[in-house]
């Protein structure tokens, strides 16, 4: 308590409230614009924070962080293009729902789920940061490998219509992830003698190409045939309590998955939302509708990715070990402002830590009104004439892609994947598995090879790690339960359960 009040005073300072508000708003907008992800959002704001005081600087960055993770869902729902890779899983149900004319409701679900996820992770962060961090470090390469395997099962969950095509996509994604430097030896692989390829295929460049540009291309191709596209009349409609009641279980589970994955350093929000989606697809009573516009899918994805925010701050604040690329940027900002995250942070800067906690809660609460406002704004933009809208999307995509690494080669990557993505649509290949493979590929490879170094290249030794075995078992359950259910349903057709 003796730290709480001074912390509150720091947060409630007028300048700081403005900082939180502006940061969150920038975050939501940046997140919603395809191509501009969380990291780009943070880097835009970074130079400005250098001249700010400590607390407002951190508030801006936390606002951008939380806002951008949420904002990605807006474009995922409205134009089938995740604004950030973290929201890729939101497309699966968000866009079908919007196509059915319920975009306002889909946005409502996404917003409430995001706020709930964010607040849940704040509570986790406040109550148990040091204890959880101590557990998180015991989570080594082998356990990480098992966790990533579990996340990969999401490929099966999102390719129900064509498992073979989905798996192929996943493999293509995993393969693309191996281009560039070898994480263990540093050797360059699959560069075909082209120097630019030695830096690998940038995730943002691929996501933007395969989702946003492919969407643009296919809309151009369809333009003549279908006439004017459906413009969804939307703002945002929050779901009613009776709709919520039966979905609380999914919400709580997704929040927990998000927070736990966030705490484990080295994974991130995209992994969390994939795992959470796969889990909901396995266990939700409404799983039959998932992929066709079922709110459970939106909840699973958005609650989990926002729950990562607080979770990822656990190891960052408690140990000085950033939970993902975004918290790494935040950590370096803290250091510039004279705060050293790590084991002594709580002892040396307790007031600042409490102020951060309070700011994080307020920022999550701010998501709700700001989300409603931004969703209205975007709905209006979407009513712009299609040629204008599409060219706007293309400009933003290319600008965003170039902004990530300043590497002109990435623009070529985006364009190529736009073309590839278009043909994948034409031939009925889902795009999401490629992205899942690409997001998880580097982590999968790194953890597998680190694990093999530790066990002297003995893969069977992985099964000596109880936590990893547990995760492998859950992975198998996720994979085989649907098969078993199908068999069961075939054997007893009279009492076939839905699903």
């Amino acid at each position: 308590m003796e730290n709480f009040l001074p912390g509150l005073a720091q947060v409630m300072d007028l300048g700081n409230v403005v900082a939180m508000f502006v940061g969150t708003l920038i975050g939501i907008i940046v997140g919603a614009l395809p191509g501009l992800g969380s990291v780009v959002g943070l880097t835009i704001c970074l130079p400005f924070t250098f001249s700010m005081d400590q607390m407002p600087a951190l508030s801006v960055l936390m606002g951008v962080y939380c806002g951008s993770v949420y904002g990605g869902s807006i474009s995922a729902i409205l134009i089938n293009t995740p604004g950030t890779p973290q929201s890729a899983a939101t497309c699966f149900d968000g866009f079908p729902m919007a196509e059915q004319g319920h975009a306002d409701k889909a946005l409502g679900w996404a917003t409430v789920a995001s706020v709930a996820g964010g607040l849940f992770s704040c509570v986790v962060l406040i109550l148990a940061a040091p204890q959880l961090a101590a557990i998180a470090v015991k989570f080594g390469p082998i356990e990480t490998f098992a966790l990533i395997c579990m996340a990969l099962t999401c490929i099966a969950s999102v390719s129900a219509d064509g498992l073979v095509k989905g798996l192929l996509g996943g493999i293509i994604g995993l393969f693309c992830a191996t281009v560039g430097s070898d994480p263990v030896t540093g050797d360059i692989r699959f560069d075909f003698g082209i120097f630019a390829l030695s830096s690998g295929l940038d995730l943002i460049a691929v996501v933007v190409g395969i989702f946003a540009l492919a969407e643009v291309f296919s809309r151009i191709a369809e333009c003549g045939r279908t006439g004017a596209p459906k413009v969804h009349d939307c703002g945002m409609r929050l779901p009613a309590w009776h709709e919520w009641r039966s979905r609380l279980g999914v919400l709580v589970k997704s929040c927990t998955i998000g927070a736990v994955v966030g705490i484990m350093p080295g994974t991130g929000a995209a992994t969390a939302s994939f795992i959470s989606y796969a889990e909901a697809k396995r266990s939700s009573p409404r799983r039959a509708g998932m992929g066709k516009g079922e709110p459970d899918g939106i909840i699973a994805s958005e609650a989990a990715n926002n729950a990562v925010t607080g979770g990822a701050l656990v190891p960052t604040l408690a140990l000085g070990i950033p939970g993902d690329a975004i918290t790494a940027v935040m950590m370096s900002t803290m250091i510039i402002h004279g705060i050293t995250p790590g084991v002594r942070l709580m002892a040396e800067n307790a007031v600042t830590v409490y102020a951060c906690f309070i700011a994080l809660i307020i920022i999550n609460l701010m998501l709700l009104p700001q989300g409603i406002a931004v969703a209205r704004l975007f709905a209006r933009i979407l009513k712009a004439p299609e040629p204008l809208l599409l060219s706007m999307v293309v400009v933003l995509c290319l600008l965003g892609t170039w902004g990530v690494r300043g590497n002109p080669f990435d623009l070529l990557v985006t364009l190529s994947f736009g073309v590839i993505g278009y043909f994948m649509r034409v031939f009925g290949f889902p795009a999401a598995p490629v992205v899942i493979g690409l997001v998880l590929g580097p982590q999968l490879e790194m953890s597998l090879r680190q694990g093999l170094i530790l066990t002297d290249n003995d893969f069977m030794a992985f099964f000596d790690y109880p936590l990893a075995v547990g995760l492998f078992v859950v992975t198998l359950l996720i994979l085989f339960l649907p098969l078993y259910r199908n068999l069961w349903a075939r054997r007893t057709p009279a009492s076939a359960p839905l699903g």
Partner: protein
């Protein structure tokens, strides 16, 4: 989004100005290429330096982040730039002298003219606080007794934390496993979790993660770590530091280099940059053109030898 725009404007300005007769240098903004993404250690260092260097040089400095392939993409871009002093590379040791030893790149150490060294941080061998190993002698004895049992971490293959440990293993004739990580913080997680036992990095890592320092890779004891012996004292001539400096593309005119050098010197002497460096725990170690050029050549040759001994030469 803002940065590319600024860079575009700067680029357009460059194109406009270049057509006119060269006026006195510098008459428009200078681009400083940082070969890593915004928000990293090298980037925040460059941004701290940016405004002071701009003041002493008399123009605006634009930081351009070009990330990828361990900093070599950005370094390559800096080496390709027009040698007029309007594009410089803010390069750390890795892309400057280690990576060119590891593989074929579109640039080499000779593609640049070293302008000045800005800072240099020594490297310390460390282990976790609760480890039974307390001295470098303990270290040698324990590791020698169990070949291939102990694991040292690094922030990636061919990074200074890796080379320092690899060189230690060679000179003490020890066998250890090497577990590369995505960065220092990631490796620290493994150290706290007990997956690795040893790590070599700058002193700030020792204090931030509450580690036990065993020996310093320096010729003199480090201020603030006075009780930690140097490797040299213990009979091993192993010296490593993580440094950053300013490089111009080869062919930059002499009078421009002179101006850059003196502006760099003055910038490192400003109180503002000193305060900034203290905050981020960087030791300002200025070296002028001549000293730095010799130093870079020596570092290049030294790391070539270590990499060869560690079996990591160019293929």
């Amino acid at each position: 989004m803002l940065k590319p725009i600024i860079t575009c404007i700067a680029g357009a300005a460059t194109a406009l100005v270049a057509t006119q007769a060269m006026a006195e240098y510098p008459d428009h903004p200078v681009t400083m290429i940082v070969p890593f993404s915004a928000g990293g250690g090298t980037d925040s260092d460059a941004r701290g330096f940016q405004s002071f260097f701009g003041e002493t040089l008399g123009t605006t400095i634009v930081v351009k982040n070009v990330d990828g392939a361990a900093g070599t993409v950005g370094a390559a871009e800096a080496s390709r730039a027009k040698p007029d002093g309007y594009t410089l590379g803010f390069l750390p040791i890795g892309p400057a002298v280690i990576q060119p030893n590891l593989r074929d790149l579109p640039y080499s150490v000779d593609s640049f003219v070293p302008v000045c060294q800005i800072n240099a941080n020594p490297v310390v061998l460390m282990t976790s606080k609760d480890s039974p190993i307390n001295t470098i002698e303990d270290f040698k004895k324990t590791v020698a007794a169990a070949p291939d049992k102990y694991v040292y971490g690094s922030s990636g293959a061919g990074t200074i934390p890796h080379l320092a440990m690899a060189a230690t293993a060679v000179s003490m004739d020890l066998k250890m496993k090497h577990l590369p990580h995505k960065g220092t913080a990631d490796a620290m997680k493994s150290l706290v979790g007990g997956f690795i036992q040893f790590f070599a990095d700058t002193p700030v890592v020792v204090s931030r993660f509450d580690m036990k320092p065993l020996a310093a890779f320096t010729d003199k004891r480090i201020d603030g770590l006075g009780s930690v012996p140097t490797m040299k004292e213990k009979g091993y001539d192993l010296q490593f530091s993580v440094w950053r400096g300013l490089f111009a593309p080869k062919g930059t005119p002499e009078e421009v280099l002179t101006k850059l050098e003196s502006a760099c010197k003055k910038a490192t002497e400003t109180q503002g940059f000193k305060d900034f460096s203290a905050k981020v725990n960087n030791d300002i170690v200025y070296m002028g053109r001549k000293t730095f050029t010799d130093f870079v050549a020596a570092e290049f040759a030294k790391n070539a030898k270590i990499l060869e001994a560690a079996g990591m030469t160019k293929k």
